[in-house]
């Protein structure tokens, strides 16, 4: 079996701006045709990573390669990478068609081809017939589509999108997300999509890379990063999460993590040689209200409700437990009783459902795809 090289491969890439390391020894493989969302809080180094791939900045150390070719020292104009920025950056002195035709013209494509390609690209983003418009006449969404067409017109194998929908309102954003998904499916281009919106990251990407402080604590399918977060940060950044510290106790054929004055069982699982002190993550929706404490096998906490939030289909409960603050998300049905602030409730979960996470100082080097060509999946974190 021949191993196809990944569309983009970063090897121990490092980038420093003055004293600050924006990207710290990041390694990442993006397979051909993948839709990778790069998500993290602002200042995490996402845009720098994108600039490194596009070639706008050169890495201090490490290697950037595309399709098996080392491009670390190749200027952006020789990389054939499409780029879309949040503020579209259309050339204001050119028409829509001139903007979209620009990459082809720079590659010395003859005029007739340019014209048909531009028409195709504009049709692809549903802006057929906009050729002669001035950029200033377009709405925000239209500008972003033109930017998309301009980035895609030269059929680059890799498209980089730096928060392209950040400036659009919610409805437009959702519509554009659908279009991006469709475009990706149709073109088979590798998309690398930077966002700080975790919902967008989970819903758009076939792979999600979480970034923080210049490193990637976890890369995996949306399901993996959500259900089995590698670190406390990943757990809490992608949706809310309760994270508690506990101590390890060996039990018969398994290991239990206990915490709190009542030695609540946070986690139960196979013994894989855990450290004596570990962190356990429990998502709010894995918790359930257990009014009479009858269900078997549940770990339980007494929670004093401090606040409830009505969310339509579900109810969000914040409260104080012996382990500290706790967040519970329970489905809601019409007419059901709703706990009032001050009320005592019992909250339970199956300790087998809980997930062990690393503390955040621990940032594993991301080594995916090594010797594996056909999968975009990463393993759950090995503890």
């Amino acid at each position: 079996m021949t191993v196809a090289p990944p569309a983009v491969r970063l090897r121990a890439v490092h980038k420093r701006y003055g004293q600050v390391s924006a990207v710290r020894n990041v390694s990442l493989d993006v397979a051909k045709g993948e839709f990778l969302t790069l998500v993290g809080p602002s200042g995490a180094g996402k845009s720098t990573l994108l600039s490194l791939i596009a070639g706008f900045v050169e890495a201090d150390a490490g290697e950037v390669s595309m399709g098996g070719q080392d491009l670390s020292h190749v200027p952006p104009q020789k990389r054939n990478v499409g780029v879309v920025f949040q503020d579209h950056l259309l050339f204001p002195h050119m028409t829509v068609a001139q903007n979209v035709g620009f990459p082809l013209e720079m590659r010395r494509i003859n005029r007739k081809c340019v014209r048909t390609c531009v028409a195709d690209a504009l049709g692809m983003v549903e802006l057929g017939g906009f050729d002669a418009r001035q950029v200033t006449e377009l709405s925000g969404g239209e500008r972003q589509r033109v930017a998309l067409a301009r980035a895609l017109v030269s059929a680059p194998p890799v498209l980089l999108l730096d928060e392209p929908l950040g400036a659009l309102d919610r409805q437009l954003r959702e519509a554009m997300q659908d279009e991006l998904r469709e475009l990706h499916a149709r073109l088979g281009t590798t998309f690398i999509y930077v966002t700080h919106d975790q919902e967008e990251a989970l819903s758009l990407g076939s792979t999600v890379a979480v970034m923080r402080d210049g490193v990637l604590p976890q890369v995996g399918t949306p399901r993996e990063v959500y259900d089995t977060p590698a670190t406390a940060f990943v757990a809490q950044f992608l949706g809310a999460c309760n994270v508690w510290a506990g101590t390890t106790h060996a039990a018969s054929a398994c290991v239990q993590i206990l915490a709190g004055p009542d030695e609540t069982i946070l986690y139960r699982g196979p013994d894989t040689g855990l450290a004596p002190e570990v962190l356990v993550a429990v998502r709010p929706e894995w918790l359930r209200l257990d009014p009479d404490g009858s269900e078997w096998g549940l770990s339980r906490l007494d929670v004093c409700v401090s606040r409830t939030q009505f969310r339509g289909s579900e109810l969000l409960i914040e409260g104080a437990s012996p382990l500290g603050q706790i967040l519970v998300r329970v489905p809601r049905s019409r007419g059901a009783q709703q706990p009032a602030p001050g009320q005592l409730v019992v909250v339970g979960w199956h300790p087998e459902d809980a997930v062990l996470v690393h503390p955040d100082s621990y940032c594993p080097r991301v080594d995916r795809h090594d010797d594996r060509s056909d999968t975009t999946r990463s393993k759950a974190p090995q503890l």
């Binding site: 070639g55 499409g82 780029v83 920025f85 028409t95 620009f102 990459p103 001035q134 030269s154």
Partner: protein, 584 residues
């Protein structure tokens, strides 16, 4: 009920609000509007339109064109006209050649260096054009540093005074800051990442520059060139002092004709000059328009790139081969040359002022405060200085009032009103000053206003108006009207909302506008020269007299004292300025 009463009592809202009837509001709005329009009409009518009409009518004879025919049939006059226009074109070209890379260098600098560079370029405005030209006379003159330098290079030259090159050097010095700043503003508006996008579209550095950067600076370049060209074509002080009789210009000719009350000849020459500059600007504008025309693009199909003129694209490709370091050096060198040209006379000013001998010369022979004593003991200088300062404040106040009304009308008025007001406000930039001076002189003579303080201040105000208008208009445009609504909803009366919200936000723009108008008036020589008559003395007039009499270092002393005064004033302003966040 009781609760609402308490609430309204606390917040100070009256429990019953007497509404203004719509008729009241309508009446108020219209009376304010009409008052504004009347003031604008009166000001522009008397100071701008009437003089221009007078110039035109005075130039007509019988038959109508007789005076023009006579002037243009004189070979000397046409030669002078050609020289004037050629000088202006050359100055424009040189300032562009140095200014474009210099402005580019500034945009690529760190914030701190950028501010330093701009401050260095603005430094000569600390002292008046007359003083700087006077110092240039020493630099370019007999045994001056430039002659010495030329001699080292093997070129034997007595002096550059009275040569075309000398005039060019000093005019470039005068107009370079303007060109660089206009270009810088247009370059700063371009997002650097556009170059990134161009690069990832496959454009080489040169192509990205030529196709993305250059076209976006076309308008700025055109504006800078137009301003410099008009300024250089209408310049009087520099050609008169540096060029002298051997480098006669149309402006100097008009001066001479007005001096002997040859109204028709002066008016004819003024119109000829105006027409000449307008023609060249129109040709330039047509070239720019041809290059940028969006209509032409769409007509020939979408893929037609109208700005892909072959030689320029080739230039782009060639530029890509030039190593980055070389380009860096070239742009920085241009900036260094610009700063040197602009600041050198200011540096030498002090040296000239401290010399003991009664002549203008560089290098100087020893140090002495002799001339300082002479200036201080001479009440003439003090009187002229005081008069100039008074004139500056009054004219700046007039300029600010008129400029505010104009900007306000342009801001809220219909498109026709906006067009008229904007054209009127910018007219002083589009017409060589001498053309105005001629017309205003005629008007003021017929109205008996020669030597009248307020009349002269009003004339100065017109010259400062374009700058005031720009600053105030930008200030008004950047004020978010919703802030007044917010203030009103928070309980502010109309007056309170103006005083506490609108005024503090507009104040910086007003302060800058006032300062610029003050400087324009403080420097003004050409118009004042005619309108002052005898007995009315301003500092520039006194300085001019100094250059005509004995060229003693007194002028440098006055110049140094003005610089010192301005430095002290700005230092005081910086110290006394209320700190941010503290009540004033």
């Amino acid at each position: 009920m009781a609760r609402t009463a308490v609430a309204s009592g606390l917040s100070g809202f009256p429990s019953t609000v007497k509404p203004l009837t719509s008729a009241h509001v309508w009446l108020l709005r219209w009376s304010v509007r009409i008052a504004g329009s009347v003031i604008l009409l009166a000001f522009f009518g008397v100071i701008l339109v009437w003089p221009m009409v007078v110039v035109l009518t005075r130039s007509l004879g019988s038959p109508v064109w007789s005076s023009y025919a006579a002037q243009l049939a004189t070979p000397a006059t046409t030669a002078i006209l050609m020289r004037t226009l050629a000088t202006a074109v050359a100055v424009t070209a040189i300032t562009l050649l140095i200014g474009y890379p210099a402005a580019y260098a500034i945009t690529r600098m760190s914030r701190r260096r950028r501010i330093t560079a701009i401050a260095l370029l603005l430094l000569p405005y600390l002292t008046s054009l007359l003083v700087r030209t006077y110092v240039w006379m020493a630099i370019l003159g007999h045994d001056g540093p430039v002659v010495w330098l030329l001699r080292q290079m093997g070129v034997e030259r007595e002096s550059l005074i009275g040569t075309w090159i000398g005039v060019l050097i000093v005019l470039v010095h005068v107009y370079l800051p303007l060109m660089v700043l206009v270009l810088y503003v247009s370059m700063r508006a371009i997002d650097v990442r556009q170059m990134d996008v161009a690069a990832s579209s496959g454009a080489s550095r040169g192509e990205a520059f030529v196709r993305v950067f250059l076209p976006q600076t076309t308008l700025g370049t055109a504006a800078g060139c137009a301003l410099v060209f008009l300024g250089a074509a209408g310049a009087f002080v520099t050609p008169a002092l540096i060029g002298g009789p051997s480098q006669f210009t149309i402006v100097m000719l008009i001066f001479d004709q007005l001096g002997v009350f040859e109204w028709r000849a002066a008016a004819t020459l003024a119109i000829v000059l105006f027409a000449g500059t307008a023609l060249i600007l129109a040709i330039g504008g047509w070239c720019v328009g041809f290059w940028r025309s969006p209509k032409r693009k769409s007509k020939r199909g979408p893929a037609r790139q109208s700005n892909s003129i072959a030689p320029i694209r080739t230039l782009g490709r060639v530029a890509s081969w030039v190593p980055r370091g070389v380009l860096f050096l070239v742009t920085r060198a241009a900036l260094a040359v610009a700063i040197a040209l602009v600041d050198v006379p200011l540096l030498l000013l002090l040296a000239v002022s401290l010399q003991p001998l009664p002549i203008l010369a560089l290098p100087t022979h020893g140090l002495s405060l002799h001339w300082y004593a002479r200036v201080i003991s001479n009440s003439e200088w003090l009187a002229a200085g005081t008069r100039s300062i008074e004139l500056g404040f009054v004219s700046a106040a007039i300029a600010l009032s008129i400029g505010y009304i104009a900007a306000w009308r342009a801001h809220v008025g219909g498109s026709l009103e906006r067009w008229i007001v904007t054209s009127a406000a910018f007219a002083p930039l589009a017409i060589p000053v001498i053309v105005f001076a001629t017309g205003l002189y005629a008007v003021y003579v017929s109205l008996g206003l020669i030597g009248q303080f307020v009349a002269i201040a009003a004339a100065h105000a017109l010259l400062g108006l374009p700058f005031v208008f720009v600053y105030v208009a930008v200030g008004l445009a950047s004020y978010d009207e919703r802030l007044s609504l917010v203030a009103a909803s928070l309980g502010a009366t109309a007056f309170q909302s103006f005083w506490r919200v609108r005024w503090p936000l507009l104040r910086p723009a007003f302060a800058i506008a006032f300062g610029v108008a003050l400087l324009v008036s403080f420097e003004e020589f050409v118009v004042t020269n005619f309108l002052a008559g005898t007995g009315f003395q301003t500092l520039p007039l006194r300085m001019w007299a100094g250059t005509q009499q004995d060229l003693s270092p007194e002028l440098a002393v006055v110049g140094s004292m003005i610089v010192a005064g301005l430095v002290v004033l700005s230092a005081l302003a910086a110290i006394l300025r209320p700190r941010r966040g503290q009540p004033a």
